[in-house]
Symmetry: C2
Subunit: 152 residues, 2 copies
C-alpha cells in the first residue's frame, strides 16, 4: 500500500489500497462545549458535572463534532484535485471523543467505480478511520466521493 | 401515524410509525462560510465567487453543516428522555443546502429492536429527512439510537 500526502491527485492517479494519513488535532473541553452549544445541546456534551450521571459518565464530544474535525483532517490530507465531494456515507462511533483526546485520520481507497454515463468521473469508496492518541478508533466513516479525470 | 412534539418519552412510549416534526432553521452565507472555515475549508463552501467554477456552481453548505443543523433540530424535536444517543447511521445529500435555504426535519421511527442482553433498552432506527423551504430533501439520515425504559 502506498501513502500520498501532498500533490493534487486525479482519478487517473487513484488506486485501490492507496492510503492517506492526516495530521493531528487536539480536542479540548471548551471546543466540545462550544460545538455542542450550537449544534448538539445535550447535558453529556455541555457540562462535565451534569455528564457524570448520563450514559457516557462524563463529558464527550458530539459525534458530529468528531465528524467535523475528521472532515477538516480529510480535506488537509486527501488531495483530490477537484476537492472532497461526498455523496454520502456510513458512520459509527465505537467510542466517544473525550476532552484531551488528540485525533488523527487514516483514509484508504476501498473501491473505484467508473461512472457509466459520465466517462470523466468515478465514485471512489473511501474508508476514513479516526483514531485517538491511544490508537483506539473513535469513528468509522465510509464515504462515496466523486473523483474526476484530469482535463486535457 | 402519530405526531409527538413536547413531553419526554421513554422506550415504553415509542412505536414504529411515530413521527416528530422540528422547527425551522434558516441558513445564511455567513454561517456556511464560518462553519466551513473551521471544518470543511474548500472553495465551494468558502467563497461564492470561487464556487462558481466548481462542481456545485455556487456556494453550498458543507454536508456536515447540514448534518449539524439537522442534529440541533432533532435534539429540539425528538424528546427521548435520556437524550439522543446515536451509535451511528447512514447519510446522503440528494442536493446541497444553499444560502437562503430554511431547513426543517421530519423524524420517523422505522424499527425498534430490544437489546437481548440489557432489558432496560432497545436500538431504535429513526429516519430523519431534512427538507428545504421548497420541500425538497437536502439530506437523508437513518440512525440507530439507544432508548431506555422508564426506571421504576
Amino acid at each position: 500500500m502506498s501513502s500520498v500526502s501532498s500533490d493534487k491527485i486525479y482519478l487517473d492517479n487513484l488506486a485501490v489500497g492507496l492510503e492517506f494519513h492526516s495530521g493531528e488535532q487536539p480536542v479540548e473541553a471548551d471546543q466540545i462545549i462550544a460545538f455542542a452549544s450550537q449544534f448538539d445541546p445535550q447535558p453529556f456534551h455541555l457540562d462535565a458535572e451534569a455528564a457524570k450521571g448520563t450514559f457516557f459518565q462524563g463529558l464527550v464530544a458530539s459525534g458530529w463534532h468528531t465528524m467535523a474535525i475528521t472532515m477538516k483532517l480529510i480535506v488537509e490530507s486527501v488531495p483530490f484535485a477537484d476537492g472532497i465531494i461526498g455523496a454520502g456515507g456510513e458512520i459509527s462511533w465505537p467510542r466517544p471523543t473525550r476532552p484531551g483526546d488528540t485525533l488523527y485520520v487514516r483514509s484508504s481507497v476501498l473501491e473505484i467505480t467508473p461512472s457509466r454515463s459520465k466517462p470523466d468521473r468515478a465514485i471512489v469508496t473511501v474508508e476514513c478511520l479516526t483514531f485517538g492518541q491511544d490508537d483506539e478508533v473513535r469513528q468509522k466513516f465510509t464515504t462515496k466521493l466523486v473523483a474526476f479525470r484530469k482535463k486535457d
